[in-house]
């Protein structure tokens, strides 16, 4: 890779993976070294330049879109802030009895600005990401109705991370509107918050209050942060290279030729894909957190041991946490707390009681959340189904909750005992795996066919060495993946008990510390899936 080609706009799409050689061996070390040697005052500006350079190297001229969004967010944020200031001044000048009416006037004014800004931001995302899907479906409908009109299907190149930074932009505007934060008059600080290079590709979706000031007040690199950050990147690299990428050939084979396999093999494929998705995404998040830690920045965690969840609802509080909280804060509560929904809750409670009364408004909001969640992942019916699948599961869980409690009471089942909790965890994992199978299936109809085979032809009788060869996996791969998963499981159990393994090892003597780091490095070098026979797998969530 020569320097001129490295510096060409949009030439480095391999940078989308934080585990690529381009990122880990070139971009990150160069950034860290330059950051460390320049004067303190220049460091925040350097991070901003590095972030824009990173975006430009991946998406080229589409950086103009990011700039437009930043300028829009800055402008509308200040506009909303101006309305708040005018409101405060106006309220001081009127008698108490007129205050309520005046507040309403200003509320409507800021609502209009917020709505206009949100429509612009979300509208941009809708046009770029969803217009081909929308046009294709309109064309199919027209064809079905025998109307001889067909629209050209538009095609856009998506700027990297558009689904992530758009949500950050909207959350910033909402938080200013709600008075949670003051609008930032410093467009450069806002730009760094929106574009910080470790998070731009796959999140986490940060709130302005969480990271903007941290990023703007970065300090010199501390050895402790460098060390802990590097170990976290290594841990993520292990998840990605040893597990996710090693499983990839088998998953690809099963999902592309599912018709050739028994239901049991398809189930194994679905389990493998769920593991791959977790290791790919959470591994990338480990790298993101690690890189941020090197610069002394703490990002909100996106995963909290999701496979220990006892219900689907809990699973989504532990998986892609920042997306879930975004939907909760900016869709679920605003919908349930709108006037019509509040009225519905009040009247429904009187008729349906304390459990089912609020469930009515709650389920409408939940539907909105899961429709948006499904669609956010991609413009295909499979993703919408994925959202609706979780909506139905969570809603059903809420509906039957009183019956389950009564049933357990009647049969004297102790829902707090270990065995019951294991049952709940296994049940949740099975439901998650089925959902992820539809998520990965090439088409929605394919997902249904695979599920049908899992139900009607559930057998492992064809599983032998010959089949494993066809699936591009051998006993060696299976053993490596199982050992790595056992390693992650032990660390997860310790984390669940509140023990930070990285912190605990860091406190031990130098021999143990370095032995642990070298063991991890050797494990990745020896057992990682790279080199001859392996194709580097693109980070799955970067496509969303």
């Amino acid at each position: 890779m020569d320097l001129p080609s490295l510096l060409m706009a949009g030439s480095l799409d391999t940078l989308t993976s934080y585990f690529s050689v381009a990122f880990l061996a070139i971009f990150l070390p160069v950034s860290v070294v330059v950051y460390a040697v320049i004067p303190q005052k220049a460091r925040k500006y350097f991070l901003l330049i590095a972030s824009f350079a990173f975006f430009w190297l991946i998406s080229g001229q589409l950086i103009a879109y990011l700039c437009l969004i930043i300028m829009g967010v800055h402008y509308f944020g200040l506009w909303l802030d101006r309305i708040q200031t005018q409101k405060s001044a106006a309220l001081k000048a009127v008698p108490k009895e007129e205050k309520k009416a005046l507040k309403k006037v200003y509320l409507h004014r800021s609502r209009r600005v917020l709505l206009f800004a949100a429509v612009l931001m979300i509208g941009g995302l809708l046009v770029i990401k969803y217009s081909p899907f929308f046009t294709t479906n309109v064309n199919s409908l027209l064809l079905l109705l025998n109307i001889p009109i067909q629209f050209d299907i538009p095609s856009y190149i998506m700027p990297i991370g558009i689904s992530f930074f758009t949500l950050q932009a909207v959350s910033y505007l909402f938080d200013v509107y709600r008075g949670l934060i003051k609008a930032d008059d410093n467009i450069l600080r806002l730009a760094l918050f929106m574009s910080f290079f470790p998070q731009i590709v796959e999140g986490p979706i940060c709130r302005y209050g969480q990271t903007a000031n941290q990023l703007w007040n970065v300090k010199q690199i501390e050895f402790e942060n460098l060390k802990l950050g590097a170990v976290r990147i290594l841990f993520g690299l292990m998840k990605k290279l040893v597990i996710a990428d090693r499983l990839n050939p088998m998953i690809k084979q099963i999902f592309s030729h599912y018709d050739d396999y028994q239901g049991g093999i398809i189930a194994l494929g679905a389990i493998a894909y769920t593991i791959q998705l977790y290791c790919d995404f959470s591994g990338t998040m480990d790298a993101v957190m690690g890189v941020a830690q090197i610069f002394g920045v703490t990002m909100p965690e996106n995963f909290q041991r999701p496979f220990f969840s006892k219900s689907i609802s809990e699973f989504w509080k532990r998986w892609h946490i920042t997306l879930g909280t975004w939907f909760k804060d900016y869709i679920f509560y605003p919908v349930t707390m709108s006037k019509p929904m509040k009225n519905l809750t009040s009247s429904a409670r009187k008729k349906l009681g304390n459990h089912f009364g609020p469930l009515l408004a709650g389920s409408i909001a939940l539907f909105c959340v899961w429709f948006c969640n499904g669609l956010w992942h991609g413009s295909a019916w499979g993703y919408i189904f994925f959202g609706m699948y979780h909506f139905v599961l969570i809603l059903s869980g809420n509906i039957i909750a009183p019956a389950v409690t009564a049933f357990n009471k009647k049969l004297h089942i102790n829902s707090e005992c270990f065995a019951y909790k294991v049952f709940q965890i296994v049940r949740t994992c099975i439901l998650v795996v089925i959902g992820e199978m539809f998520f990965r299936a090439e088409r929605l109809t394919t997902g249904f066919s695979m599920f049908g085979k899992m139900v009607t032809d559930f057998s492992f009788s064809s599983l032998n060495y010959e089949l494993m060869k066809k699936l591009k996996i051998d006993m060696h791969d299976v053993m490596i993946v199982l050992i790595a998963l056992a390693f992650i499981f032990v660390i997860s159990v310790l984390n669940e008990k509140g023990i930070c393994v990285r912190g605990a090892i860091a406190k031990r003597n130098v021999v143990i510390r370095w032995a642990a780091v070298y063991a991890l490095i050797m494990f990745i070098i020896i057992f990682g899936a790279y080199g001859k026979g392996y194709v580097a797998v693109d980070p799955i969530y970067a496509n969303f």
Binding site: R178, M341, K342, N354
Partner: protein, 76 residues
């Protein structure tokens, strides 16, 4: 404050509301209970609870809820 405790007991009985300091964090009140609670608080105390106030800190104890209500009444 008694009226607030009555509302809470009506929505979800069998909880020691006066002694509990982690109603949200301890999963005593879920999102459905919160939806009911907000609708009832708005009716009973003539306040509007904006979405921004729906944070665990405002609902973890009766005391926290009461101070939120008083603050909202003052703001109204």
């Amino acid at each position: 404050m008694d009226e607030l405790i009555e509302i809470l007991e009506d929505i979800k009985p069998d909880v020691d509301y006066e002694g509990c300091e982690n109603l949200i964090d301890g999963h005593y009140l879920d999102s459905l209970s919160i939806i009911s609670l907000i609708a009832e608080i708005e009716d009973a105390f003539d306040v509007t609870v904006p979405a921004v106030e729906v944070v665990p800190a405002n609902f973890n104890s009766v005391k926290a809820m009461w101070s939120m209500i008083e603050r909202l009444q003052e703001e109204e």
